[in-house]
Subunit: 341 residues, 4 copies
């Protein structure tokens, strides 16, 4: 069994990492670090893990030898932990935003502070099995992208890579409340957040930089919080490049994703669930992608959906771990999602 | 115009008091007191009041002369304000729990602290127009009951007063999240509170003492938080008293409530909304009451629903004010509720 | 009192028309027509109207003389009613889609059938007080725009009219479930519709034609159903025209809307409700509009929100009626919305 | 691999049976019967099964040889299928209400029609592993109890069997919308069902007869639909029997359930999830049970929660199948539930 230490284990992503690793046939969680709740039972914070574990949270200082370090800590606080652990562990997977952007200036612009370990930025392999599977097999440092970024880059990469779409793309992201974390604030009080259609980032959402980095496109993003706890959806508005057609777009997706275990193409003419929708993906590691053409115009709309805490975070990290360790990619990730929901 | 000062104006009940008074033809809000947000615009906290008012919150010390003082402050903090204002104003209406129970010992038991002004308890008239309309006409101190208490006592009083039901009643209360106030906490974070069926008081909820006080019954209460922002429903489980029958129960309600402007009897054999349900009452001052008999048994189930912030708080206070001032009882309270919702 | 006959009174828009007219000081509902429920009490379908009315639904044939005819019937079925009533009533207000597009070909394209009364299309005044107030004062036929169309055209008209924005605009509309009406179907079953982020019109939503017609822009629309019963939000993505700047945009809105009773400009740097959001508008006739600029780029994002059944339908119709009759514009429309919600 | 034919496979319970059997290491679904959708792909109705199966629905006549027949058809329609299949298959598991009550008269009373196969009622073993594990090992006919019935009987059996509680119990059940099935109706339209607190059975809910049958108690039930798609909670109000105390109650639960794989005792003094709550159980086969005592009184409140489609239906059926086949009881049922949710 591979021994994994999870930092930030009391957060929502951290809890999801624990759930997945506890159900994984090859991993053992040897430390669940929480600065807020040291000594408290893990299942007192994550009640779905009752009977699944007797672990208690520990302090960062109590973490001893382990094979893998997984960071699910807030943005900005991962940098120090990476410095501390990068050389002491076989594999470090960071789920924060700190090592997602290759460019320290972009980090400053989007995160508002200077990067503390710019020299390490190049050492991280992006945690995107669909794009970096080979590099992940030998990676020592992995940075898992943001939830809406994952949806957006998986949605746009195939046609972008084949230059089938215009360079400028508008990404409209919608997200549930778990994306803002487990810390109470005025804006995520139930009475305020419930039933919201809240444009919290009309322009310049952080994830646009990540999507741009992985697709080469000029990405402009708007983000809205809608009524949901889990789940993210992006609607990407773009146009066919001169000379491209919708058939080529379909072929690009088929080519890129037909063998991918966690990507499903979803565009139906009939039925209730015609395009990707997060609610049937909750708990699963799938990213569903669909696209629609505007007859008689060059407009192309690409839609992607995923569970922000799974394929948009913890599940993606576990998939990367599986790739890195040479295990079947679906280990620990077999839950298909629920219907109705 | 009657000048009203509202304390606790940044809370949810306080905001609803403001909304109702701003739409009231005879009142003027001269002070909106908030210890948290002095100097801030009222509509920055209550965005539904944008364009309805230019008021800013003020400190308690800034409140000058006024005709009516309305306290929408948290439990325990109203006692000091009552001492301070009782003699300085024509009318004081307290929406907190501090002067609801006539018995200081019961206050200690249910609120966990000793009462600071026990000598004033008897001076308060209960803010229940349906039961105390005459006393309210000349009241100087009014204490508005709790939200689930209002639903429960209005549901049970008619058959209880006529001794048509057994003395022991079980009241199952369900409430939306606004009942726990505008202050963020772990339990009312959207991701935690959303979709809840949370039994937060399996036994001994405070409001059972109020219902007992106003009905003379032995009341046992259980309270559950369900998915909703506004709205309270109580389901009262009781039995017919020996010799009583369901016809007498119906007559009791008719007699008690047929002239009440804000009570509606709702028990239908068909349709979607057969029994009282809060969602169609949101924003309105109605309390809907229905009852059902178990054929061939003595079981009687009484159901009541209301908007916890209106008939369960601010609206009831305004209705009391209308009674006290001799105005039409529906002044400021004419909104009927929405469907669908 | 003006006598109003409401057709389609059992639908969601029809119910809202009834609610507003029953609370209106100058109107009397003399007929509530429903082909599905003739003879049934109105409040058995619209339970919020219990105690507000004793009306029963009637058949279309039973409608006798009246001053105003209000059609809240489904698209396609209003055409015959307009033919029948246009000459028999002082004023007809149509809330369906049948007379919104001036161009019969566009109607065919977006509604899938040929228009049955193309000769009447030009006789209708658009039911948009903000754009057509003067014409409305003498109108005999009024066609109220669609819910997302209203939000979109009010959002875009001021900068479009002053040529401050690019001609091509992308409108991302989000809507609650009441927009699809009161008739049960597979897709609006609670278990299927709940928690949805459902892109039901990735391209070519009908309302894009209306927004285009009223702004002169080339509008492309995408529509998504999100978790809500009431409420519509549009996010309009556009760019400044060459030479235009954000200050001119702000001035355009100020000039167009500073005297409008039901438009509020909402763009805040801080707070929970920084941009327009429908949940605090439910039941109210407001359309909130906000805009955001992307620093260092020409991108402009305009956001608008309203209650689809009120400003997006019934409330707008009543506002038009008020204008037409020379009554104060806010008659029957004074409800400000609720917070929290 | 054991071959299973699922009747009623397009319903919500049927879909959940498919999900669980498709993830089960020892079963193969050889027929998914739907009278509504023969020939249609299973994943067009249950979109969570995309990529999990290529099955299409078939007609009942197309079902050939199989080892197990699983009926997830509506009440009343299972009787004919049982007659037809009882002798043709090694094992039949019925999820409808048709064979839950041992008494044909009770069936008539609660289901409104005469039972068509009363002679078979005694042949069914109740599908409750916690109470009938030994009989299930050799059962040929199994009848899985109703969702709220399962919660209620598991909650009450331990103290009832040891005569620690009064014979009369009041069960307050709350349920999500999936309990009323996948067929659209006026009452489960999203706009009507959303945010509901709908007392649909103030007295005499069917499941009370089942709880009575399995506990020997005199059970009175009230059922309310609350805002949720999945999930059931029962709150059982009772009293200690003379001479009993709360310690004995705790011991009774410990004795009955400490080795049960899918029952967890949940009663905490602190934290957000102090008592059983369905939202963290969605998709899982757990039934959480907690109890609370009223200090200084004999009142006992027992709370149970489960996912109505899993432990309240399909999961319980799979657990029975596992018991019957001698497989590990958790086969196919290892999903722990999600947090947050």
């Amino acid at each position: 069994m591979i021994r994994v230490a999870v930092f930030g284990a009391a957060g929502y992503i951290g809890g999801e990492v624990l759930r997945l690793l506890l159900g994984h046939p090859e991993t053992e969680v040897t430390a669940a670090v929480s600065s807020r709740f040291p000594g408290k039972r893990v299942d007192s914070v994550h009640p779905n893990l009752r009977s699944a574990t007797d672990l208690t949270f520990c302090d960062a200082e109590q973490v001893t030898e382990c094979d893998v370090v997984l960071l699910a800590t807030p943005h900005r606080s991962a940098m120090a932990l990476v410095r501390q652990w990068a050389s002491r562990t076989e594999l470090l997977i960071d789920l924060s935003g700190d090592f997602r952007l290759r460019d320290a200036d972009a980090y400053k612009r989007y995160y508002g502070v200077a990067h503390e370990a710019p020299e390490l930025l190049d050492s991280f392999v992006p945690g995107i099995p669909e794009l970096h599977r080979d590099e992940l097999r030998t990676a020592r440092l992995i940075s898992v992208p943001g939830c809406m970024a994952t949806a957006g880059l998986l949605a746009l990469r195939p046609p972008a890579a084949r230059r089938l779409i215009a360079s400028r793309v508008l990404v409209d992201g919608r997200t549930g409340s778990s994306g803002s974390g487990a810390t109470a604030g005025e804006g995520n009080l139930h009475a305020e957040r419930s039933g919201a259609m809240r444009v919290f980032a009309p322009v310049a959402h952080r994830h646009e930089a990540e999507i741009a980095q992985h697709t080469g496109l000029d990405v402009r993003m708007t983000a809205t919080g809608v009524e949901a706890v889990r789940g993210v959806q992006v609607v990407c508005h773009t146009e066919l490049a001169p000379g491209a057609d919708h058939r080529a777009v379909r072929a690009a997706y088929r080519e890129a994703y037909s063998d991918e275990p966690f990507i499903r193409m979803v565009s139906h003419k009939r039925g209730v669930y015609r395009y990707p929708e997060p609610k049937i993906l909750l708990g699963s590691n799938f990213c569903d992608i669909g696209h629609a053409a505007d007859e008689g115009s060059d407009r192309l709309v690409v839609i992607a959906a995923l569970d922000n805490l799974v394929k948009g975070g913890a599940g993606n990290a576990v998939q990367c771990l599986n790739v890195r360790m040479g295990w079947p990619e679906s280990y620990g990730l077999s839950f298909p999602g629920l219907h109705p929901m």
